[in-house]
C-alpha cells in the first residue's frame, strides 16, 4: 500500500462515555487524504468529542482511531506531529499579541528565533493581520481571531487540519474569508476535517460529508448523494389573498402528490417535494386555477430537513 492510499483518518467503533452519556457511540469514519471532509450534525451530536479524540486530546473509551495509519492512543506523539486543531473556542492566547502567539508556536515547533519571526510575519501578511500584529488578541474581532487561530494551526504545515465549527458566530464576510482560506489550505495537499452545523457550509467546501447524530454516523456520501437521498427540498408559496388559501392547498396537494402544510402566516403554504420539475408544474396549475401567487420558492433541504429525514429513516 503506498502512502497515498492510507486514509487520513480511519476510525472503527470509536466510543467516548461521559458519566452515563455516550457522547461518541461506535463512530466509523474513513476520510480520504487531500480533501475537505465535512462532519455535519446538531449541537451535542458528538462532533467535538470525536475531533478531540482524533487530535489526541481525549482518550477513547473503546474502538480504534488511526491518523495516516498511526494509532491516536499508542502513537500519540507521531499523530501530534501530523495534525493541527482549531477548536470551537479560540485556541489563541488573548493576553498576548498576534505576533507573540505565532512566534511562541514557531519556537515550540523548533524554529530558531529569527525563523519563527519570519514565519510569523509571512503568516500575518497571508491572513491580512499585519496591522493588528502588535495588538493584544483580546482586541481582535471574531473574524480576525479565527483567522489568527487558523494561521497558528498551519504554521506547522500539518498534513491534517481539524476545524471545529470554524464559522460559528462569524458574520457573512468573515465566513467567506474562512471558506477561501480552507480552499487555499486544501489546495496545498492538507486534508481538512471540518465540523459544522450548516449544510450550506459542508455543501460549499466538503468533498464528502458524514451526518452524525447521538455519536454515530447516520449517513455518509457526497453532498449531492445526501441531498438526493431525501428529495429536492421544500416549496414555499405566498398568496396575495388569504381567502384563496384553501383552494391553493387543494391544487398544490394534487399537483405535488404530497401533504401541504398551512403556515402561521395566513397567506403561506409549504410542502416537501422530491422533484424540482413537479414543483414547476404546480406553479403553472396554480396560475391556471386563477390563484394569485406573490412568491414561489423551492428551498434546498435545510440541515433540519436532512437531519429529520435521516433520523426518521434510522428509526423506521
Amino acid at each position: 500500500m503506498s502512502a497515498q492510499d492510507v486514509p487520513a483518518i480511519e476510525t472503527s467503533g470509536l466510543v467516548k462515555v461521559f458519566g452515563t452519556t455516550r457522547a461518541v457511540d461506535g463512530l466509523d469514519l474513513t476520510v480520504p487524504p487531500g480533501t475537505v471532509y465535512g462532519v455535519l450534525g446538531p449541537n451535542g451530536a458528538g462532533k467535538t468529542t470525536a475531533v478531540r479524540m482524533l487530535a489526541t486530546l481525549l482518550r477513547p473509551d473503546g474502538g480504534q482511531a488511526r491518523v495516516f495509519g498511526h494509532d491516536v492512543l499508542h502513537e500519540a506523539d507521531t499523530v501530534r506531529g501530523l495534525v493541527s486543531l482549531t477548536g470551537q473556542y479560540a485556541s489563541v492566547d488573548e493576553e498576548m499579541t498576534g505576533t507573540e502567539n505565532l512566534v511562541l508556536l514557531g519556537r515550540l515547533l523548533g524554529y530558531r528565533k529569527a525563523a519563527a519571526r519570519d514565519r510569523s510575519e509571512q503568516l500575518m501578511v497571508a491572513f491580512g493581520l499585519t496591522e493588528a500584529a502588535g495588538r493584544l488578541v483580546k482586541t481582535y474581532s471574531g473574524g480576525m481571531r479565527r483567522r489568527l487561530d487558523i494561521a497558528a494551526s498551519i504554521l506547522s504545515t500539518p498534513r491534517l487540519l481539524f476545524l471545529d465549527e470554524p464559522t460559528t458566530g462569524l458574520d457573512p464576510r468573515s465566513r467567506n474569508q474562512v471558506w477561501d482560506i480552507v480552499r487555499a489550505v486544501v489546495a496545498q495537499g492538507t486534508t481538512v476535517l471540518l465540523t459544522t452545523q450548516y449544510l450550506d457550509e459542508a455543501d460549499h467546501l466538503a468533498a464528502r460529508i458524514a451526518v452524525i447524530d447521538a455519536g454515530r454516523v447516520i449517513a455518509e456520501g457526497t453532498p449531492g448523494e445526501l441531498k438526493a437521498s431525501i428529495g429536492a427540498g421544500t416549496v414555499h408559496v405566498r398568496l396575495r389573498d388569504a381567502a384563496q388559501r384553501p383552494a391553493a392547498e387543494d391544487v398544490l396537494a394534487r399537483a405535488l402528490r404530497t401533504p401541504v402544510q398551512q403556515e402561521a402566516d395566513p397567506v403561506a403554504l409549504s410542502a416537501r417535494v422530491d422533484d424540482a420539475e413537479i414543483a414547476a408544474a404546480a406553479l403553472a396549475e396554480l396560475a391556471a386555477a386563477g390563484i394569485v401567487v406573490d412568491e414561489f420558492a423551492l428551498g434546498q433541504p435545510s440541515l433540519d430537513e436532512v437531519f429529520l429525514a435521516l433520523t426518521d429513516r434510522a428509526a423506521a
Binding site: 487530535a55 489526541t56 486530546l57 506523539d77 507521531t78 501530534r80 506531529g81 495534525v83 493541527s84 486543531l85 477548536g87 473556542y89 479560540a90 485556541s91 489563541v92 492566547d93 488573548e94 493576553e95 498576548m96 499579541t97 507573540e100 511562541l104 508556536l105 519556537r107 515550540l108 515547533l109 523548533g110 524554529y111 530558531r112 525563523a115 514565519r119 509571512q122 503568516l123 501578511v125 497571508a126 491572513f127 491580512g128 496591522e131 493588528a132 502588535g134 495588538r135 493584544l136 482586541t139 474581532s141 480576525m144 483567522r147 497558528a152 498551519i154 506547522s156 504545515t157 464576510r173 474569508q177 477561501d180 482560506i181 480552499r183 487555499a184 489550505v185 489546495a187 496545498q188 492538507t190
Partner: protein, 282 residues
C-alpha cells in the same frame, strides 16, 4: 505597549491562495525542541503576560509589604518586647509565609489557561509534555524572587540586620524558591482537576492558612499545647521556616535544610507525576 488602532475600513481582507500556499510550502521542518528549550519558551510566555499586565505583580509586591508591616507592628510589642527585636525573628518567617501563599496563583493560572482553550493547542504539539506547566512555574519562580526581594528590602529599611549576611540571606531565598517551585505542583494539580478558578482559590486557602499559621512563623512553638506542637513538628512549612531562619542567622541547621530539600524532591515527584497524569488524560 499596545496601540489601539481600530480595524481599518479601507480594503477588506481577501485571502489569496498564493500567499497562503507560499507559507505552507513544505520547507525543511526544524527538529523538535529539547525539553529545556520548550520549557524556556513557555517561561517566555509567562514573562510576556507580566509585561502586558504589570498590575498582576501587586500580589508579589504590595501584599508582602503589607504582611511584613502589619505583623511586625501588630505583634512586635506584645511578643518580643519591641518591634525591632521581633522583626529579627519574624522576617524569615513572614517571607516564607508570603511566598508560600502566592504559590496558589499558579493553580489559578493553570485553571484559567484550560478554561480558555489555549491549552488544547499546546497539548496537540509534539513537544515534551510537561513543558507548558514547567514553563508556567519558571515564570512563577520570578514572581517568588520578586516577593522575597521586596520583603528583604522592606525588612532592611525597617531595621532587620541578618547575622548571616548576604550569603545567608541569598541562600535562604534560594531554598525558599526551590521549595516553592516544588510546592506549586500541588496547585497545578488542583488547577487541572477543579472546575473553576474559585474552587482552586477556596482549596488553596483551606490548605495554606493552617500550614502557615500553625507553624513557627510568628511564635516559638514551645508555648503551644502538645497536640499542636506535634502538628508543627511535621508541618513542612515549619521546617522551611526553621531552615531559612537558620541560614539568615548564619548558623545553618543542616538537618532542617536537608529535610526541606528532600521534601521538595518528594513533592515534585509525587505531585508532578499526578499532575502529568491528569494533564495527559484531561
Amino acid at each position: 505597549m499596545t496601540t489601539t488602532t481600530s480595524e481599518t475600513t479601507t480594503v477588506p481582507y481577501v485571502p489569496a491562495a498564493e500567499t497562503i500556499g507560499a507559507v505552507m510550502a513544505p520547507g525543511a521542518r526544524p527538529p523538535r525542541p529539547s525539553a529545556l528549550s520548550a520549557s524556556i519558551t513557555f517561561g517566555w510566555r509567562a514573562m510576556l503576560k507580566i509585561k502586558h499586565v504589570p498590575e498582576q505583580l501587586f500580589d508579589v509586591t504590595a501584599f508582602p509589604i503589607m504582611m511584613t508591616l502589619m505583623f511586625t507592628y501588630l505583634f512586635g510589642g506584645a511578643l518580643a518586647g519591641s518591634t525591632g527585636e521581633y522583626l529579627q525573628y519574624l522576617l524569615p518567617g513572614i517571607m516564607v509565609m508570603s511566598v508560600v501563599m502566592i504559590t496558589m496563583y499558579t493553580g489559578v493560572a493553570v485553571n484559567n489557561d484550560i478554561a480558555k482553550g489555549v491549552f488544547d493547542r499546546f497539548r496537540t504539539l509534539p513537544v515534551w509534555r510537561p513543558a507548558a506547566l514547567v514553563g508556567n512555574l519558571l515564570g512563577d519562580v520570578l514572581r517568588y524572587l520578586l516577593a522575597s526581594t521586596t520583603i528583604v528590602v522592606v525588612g532592611l529599611i525597617m531595621g532587620f540586620r541578618p547575622p548571616g549576611g548576604i550569603v545567608g540571606v541569598l541562600s535562604g531565598v534560594a531554598l525558599l524558591v526551590i521549595f516553592s517551585f516544588a510546592f506549586s505542583w500541588i496547585w497545578t494539580m488542583f488547577g487541572l482537576f477543579l472546575r473553576s478558578e474559585k474552587s482552586v482559590m477556596g482549596i488553596s486557602m483551606l490548605v495554606l492558612f493552617p500550614l502557615t499559621f500553625l507553624s513557627n512563623v510568628f511564635v516559638d512553638p514551645a508555648t503551644m499545647p502538645g497536640w499542636l506542637q506535634a502538628f508543627v513538628d511535621v508541618n513542612p512549612i515549619a521546617h522551611l521556616v526553621a531552615a531559612v531562619r537558620s541560614m539568615m542567622n548564619g548558623a545553618w541547621d543542616t538537618g532542617e535544610v536537608t529535610w526541606v530539600l528532600v521534601s521538595a524532591a518528594v513533592l515534585t515527584v509525587v505531585f508532578g507525576t499526578i499532575t502529568m497524569r491528569l494533564y495527559n488524560r484531561k
